[in-house]
Amino acid sequence: MTGRVSVDPELCIGSGDCVRLLPDAFMIDESLGVAVTLPPAAVADRALLLRARRSCPTQAIDVTDESGDQVRDEGTDR
């Protein structure tokens, strides 16, 4: 996908679920104990990004499209 992926450092608790799902897109900054995004996040697989967002225990991950709108879940919720 092309758009913007971000992690709110105030909300993140460093669970690492996003890193497990997308190790090229997220990493834990051990000095802060929170996840941060890596440049490949912007082009990462959309389904995995949305799963990472859904699995985040504090809803700290934000995924927006090129126009700045929230990308909606497709298929993980039934």
Partner: protein
């Protein structure tokens, strides 16, 4: 709220039993796990622990404690530390043809839970491990106090256990780590490596105001929480997995598959967690009026989350969701264990320790996969030929309303040394 600070009457009782509704409730910031607002000194045995902490304090604690649940730490535990410890312990504990599986599960699990919590111990000293398990049993009753049949008796038991646990286990471990941290901070060389565990990170960071760890007792109770969480659920899940396999029409075939195939053993554990959650009905109270999945929840309402029902949703888990089927197909994005580890900020931090990483629908995993300690325990007892004991019946834990908890589970083993394997 009563005058004593313990919430005993509610403005309403609202039950959610649908998967997505429960998930929404678990993410709702107005629904809290705090039913007792007293201090520890005034009688609240769970005061200040991470399980009931809120907001910035909760997030700050979890940030430092989650460092002990990183993937590389999990792999170290389950590949290098646990298999050897487990085999050595089983060689000692299987001292008769007929044994009780539940305490064996507790003893296996408490070794690594103690290590992760930061309790120094001798993994080969079974009597010491049994003492730790006795404390775990008390702490487990404390964590389930909302479902206790005699809450006052539980409070007295837990307070006495905390005192002994602090004196006999935490203080010696604390002193060793404090000395190492002092030397580390001053740049002096350390003969002993600084341990990687919960107690060490709490002591290292305790001055951080957001952590709210100024009181020594909170650190003791936090360490106890991780010891209990890492032991009790694993032991109960092991017994429930064996029980579900024994009850299957193809029990022997399933046990043989678990002995030979670690990923099957893991799927069996995750299926067990789905069908037999350690907390079948999670409870929350509304701190403020809120709206959950379209339902208005008034302040001071009791919210009951029926995880057992949600975990049997056929839309998520297919036909016959009440059956034990480790091979069931589950879509990506749905955890095979359902909501048994919770969701949201208070999701169980040790879920990957016990249950491992999610299993993909292809049943193909890479070399980095984490299977979880309970899968290894299940495989170990399957390789020793665990079978039902036809002469004695299992006993459920009658001290709690939680139906998934056992106190005794007699089994026999066809052999005391393992056979089979991948």
């Amino acid at each position: 709220m009563s005058e004593t600070g313990v919430l005993t009457t509610y403005t309403a009782t609202i039950v959610f039993d649908r998967y997505e509704d429960i998930r929404a409730a678990l993410f709702d910031a107005e629904l809290s796990r705090t039913f007792d607002k007293r201090s520890y000194e005034d009688g609240n045995i769970r005061s200040g622990i991470v399980s009931v902490a809120h907001g910035s304090t909760h997030r700050a604690r979890r940030r430092i404690e989650n460092t002990q649940f990183r993937a590389d730490v999990l792999r170290l535990y389950e590949r290098e530390l646990f298999p050897r410890v487990m085999d050595e312990l089983l060689d000692v504990l299987l001292d008769a043809d007929e044994v009780d599986l539940f305490p064996i599960g507790e003893l296996l699990s408490v070794v690594l839970a103690a290590r992760r919590a930061g309790i120094d111990h001798d993994a080969g000293a079974v009597d010491q491990l049994r003492t730790l398990v006795r404390h775990v049993d008390a702490f487990s009753q404390g964590s389930a106090i909302l479902d206790a049949k005699d809450p006052d008796a539980v409070r007295a038991l837990v307070r006495a256990s905390y005192e002994e646990f602090e004196r006999e286990f935490v203080r010696p471990s604390w002193a060793r780590r404090a000395a190492l941290l002092t030397r580390d901070a001053s740049g002096e060389p350390n003969d002993d490596e600084l341990p990687q565990d919960i107690l060490t990170v709490l002591l290292r960071h305790r001055s951080g105001p957001a952590l709210d760890l100024g009181d020594d007792g909170r650190i003791v109770r936090e360490v106890a929480t991780y010891l209990q969480g890492g032991t009790h659920t694993s032991a109960q899940t092991l017994v429930n997995a064996v029980d579900l396999m024994f009850g299957s029409p193809d029990a022997i075939a399933q046990l043989e598959r678990a002995a030979a195939d670690t990923l099957f053993a893991q799927r069996a554990v995750q299926e067990t967690l789905r069908l037999r959650p350690t907390t079948p009905k999670m409870k929350r109270r509304a701190e403020q009026d809120t709206l959950v999945a379209g339902t208005a929840v008034p302040k001071d309402a009791l919210v009951v989350l029926d995880v057992v029902s949600a975990n049997r949703d056929p839309r998520l888990f297919g036909e016959r969701p009440g059956e034990f089927d480790p091979d069931r197909a589950v879509d990506a994005g749905v955890n095979r264990w359902g909501l048994s580890f919770g969701a949201g900020p208070h999701q169980c931090p040790g879920r990957s320790v016990g249950g491992g990483f999610p299993v993909p629908g292809t049943f193909q995993v890479d070399d980095d996969h984490v299977y979880g300690l309970v899968a290894l325990e299940l495989q170990a007892v399957a390789r020793r030929g665990v079978r039902p004991d036809p002469t004695r019946s299992p006993e459920r834990d009658t001290r709690t309303e939680r139906f998934t908890r056992w106190s005794h589970y007699p089994v026999r083993f066809e052999r005391r040394r393992p056979t089979g394997g991948e």
